[in-house]
């Protein structure tokens, strides 16, 4: 599975902070260097947060090169609009971006997010009660978590493309062009999405750079004053609210005829908990679940520039028009009919490999694993390069590693050996005189 986590081997000291926070246990330290098991990585960025040495980063395209090209076409993640204290209103930022020579796809984004929210509302209303709640995967890491850890939930995923992709498609249809389009993404997961789109034949997004990179380069320009104030039209800002928790659910509600029961959670632990509760069938009576692996939502992404708390506050204070006008409704119905919003590839599970492809054999290995595990110290220190003693026992039976990778086992071995050496040194040949005997 492709991911956008970059490792700097020079900066990595081989500490084990990252391997212990990884929710899918995808990281190992081998010979003093970290490595990521690509199939397990869900691009959540928890490892980046845990690394104190900046040894982990986001693999993004080169913004300096992109911004020199002309024209620069960008589609900005909603979180981008919450990064600037200079420009608390999206309108101001829109003008600034224009004055810097960037063509930002805001009309398309407004349309695409309206369309996605409308399509989700339609899907919920069409779904029989037994298949509710359905779950949004606007957060690409949530999709990957479901694929790897909760494959039973795949049928509950709303089959609607990411509005960021839809916006790209709309723009390509309108302009009929194949010039590069750059996504400003708040996290590695959305950068991967730009590289590995879910949509049909089009490759709507070309490049992915972080919100942080672009926001910082704009901040570096200082306070930009823009002369004309009347060029833009009135914005409803609904789509920007998707950057905070509950924004998407609120938008879906705006297009729904009945009052929806929604759960909106953010943060990795909450996301894992809610997915588990859903799998256990505990969430009856809920219509829609919105979850984001980053705390507070996309403004909490590892690739953002400003404090997630301030960014969240700006979104709360942002004027947002939730009332859908008849004109907007007919526009969204027209787009809905075009079928540019639904997924075309079915989401496939990505389960972990079993211990063996034969149950009897796997059971033997499981017993061995249990025995190995029982001999380990159970403190999950990470010194063996694995996230836990359990993971270590599993790798040994899979043939990757030995018990002496555990420093405690190694120490036990050395101490046993040392004792033996002392014992051997005490035994003397019979011809030697005993000490103390004259």
């Amino acid at each position: 599975m492709e991911h956008s986590i970059k490792i700097s081997k020079e900066a990595c000291q081989g500490c084990v902070n990252c391997i212990r926070v990884c929710p899918t246990e995808a990281i190992r330290v081998v010979k003093g260097e970290i490595s990521i098991i690509d199939e397990l990585c869900v691009d959540c960025g928890e490892c980046l947060r845990a690394c104190g040495r900046s040894a982990l980063g986001i693999y993004e395209d080169d913004w300096n090169k992109i911004k020199e090209s002309s024209p620069v076409n960008i589609i900005a993640d909603p979180s981008f609009f919450a990064q600037f204290c200079h420009y608390p209103k999206p309108d101001n930022l829109e003008e600034v971006l224009l004055s810097l020579g960037f063509n930002t796809l805001i009309d398309e984004a407004e349309d695409a997010f309206d369309l996605a929210a409308y399509a989700i509302a339609q899907f919920i209303n069409r779904s029989p009660k037994t298949s509710l709640p359905v779950i949004s995967v606007y957060c690409p890491s949530v999709l990957r978590l479901i694929q790897t850890k909760f494959p039973e939930l795949l049928p509950r995923i709303v089959p609607v493309l990411s509005p960021l992709e839809i916006a790209g498609t709309l723009w390509r249809m309108k302009t009929n062009s194949d010039v590069p389009l750059t996504l400003l993404a708040p996290c590695p997961a959305k950068i991967t999405m730009a590289r590995e789109p879910q949509s049909k034949n089009l490759f709507p997004l070309t490049n992915g750079v972080t919100v942080r990179r672009v926001a910082r380069s704009i901040m570096a320009e200082g306070d930009i004053h823009v002369e004309s104030k009347a060029v833009h039209k009135k914005r409803n800002n609904r789509w920007i609210q998707w950057a905070r928790r509950y924004g998407e659910a609120r938008h879906v509600q705006a297009f729904s005829d009945r009052k929806l029961t929604v759960l909106a959670v953010s943060g990795m632990n909450n996301t894992l908990d809610i997915l588990q509760e859903l799998e256990l069938g505990r969430l009856r009576g809920v219509d829609f679940i919105e979850c984001r692996v980053c705390d507070t939502g996309c403004v909490g992404g590892v690739g953002t520039a400003d404090s997630r708390f301030l960014a969240n506050l700006r979104l709360i204070n942002m004027e947002t028009e939730w009332e859908i006008t008849p004109k907007e409704l007919s526009r969204v119905e027209e787009l809905y009919a075009m079928d540019i919003w639904s997924i075309t590839k079915e989401y496939q599970p990505r389960p972990r490999l079993p211990l063996s492809d034969n149950v009897a054999d796997a059971m033997v290995k499981l017993q061995q694993m249990k025995e190995i595990y029982n001999g380990l110290p159970h403190i999950d220190c990470g010194s063996c390069g694995r996230p836990s003693c359990q993971a270590m026992a599993e790798e040994i039976v899979r043939g990757n590693g030995s018990v002496t990778d555990c420093i405690f086992k190694l120490r036990d071995g050395i101490s046993a050996l040392a004792n033996q050496i002392v014992k051997l040194s005490e035994s003397q040949p019979h011809t030697f005189k005993r000490e103390g005997k004259k």
Partner: protein, 143 residues
Amino acid sequence: MGAPVCMEYRIEGNDFMEAGAASNNIKKTLKMLGIESAICTRAAIVTYEAEINLVIHANGGMLKAVISEDKIEITAEDKGPGIPDIKKAMTEGFTTASNQAREMGFGAGMGLPNIKRNSDAFEIESTLGVGTVMKSTVFFNKK
């Protein structure tokens, strides 16, 4: 044929925070054995509901899972108050859970019916004042 894998958990009464750990573990183990994910989920639901029952009603007890090549057998055993009317307890929506449990979102009267629905074989025996033993079996190669 390998020896069956046994997993045993002591479940504490009224400990709502810990509920779910055993079920999670059992699901993980089944997945490692390469059992189809729909079956894993059914076994996880049975274990989870049994665990919750021990927490809410029985003031704790033992949860045991025995995995063999073709099935998983889940046994929940307690020395709780016992169930006066099993037939009634098997009815959806019937509950005797405490207010505390219900405030936490448990005790909706779906536990036992849910276990039965997800089991291929199911038995329950209860004696007032002595305790309850519940056994559920899920086969691996049966839908």
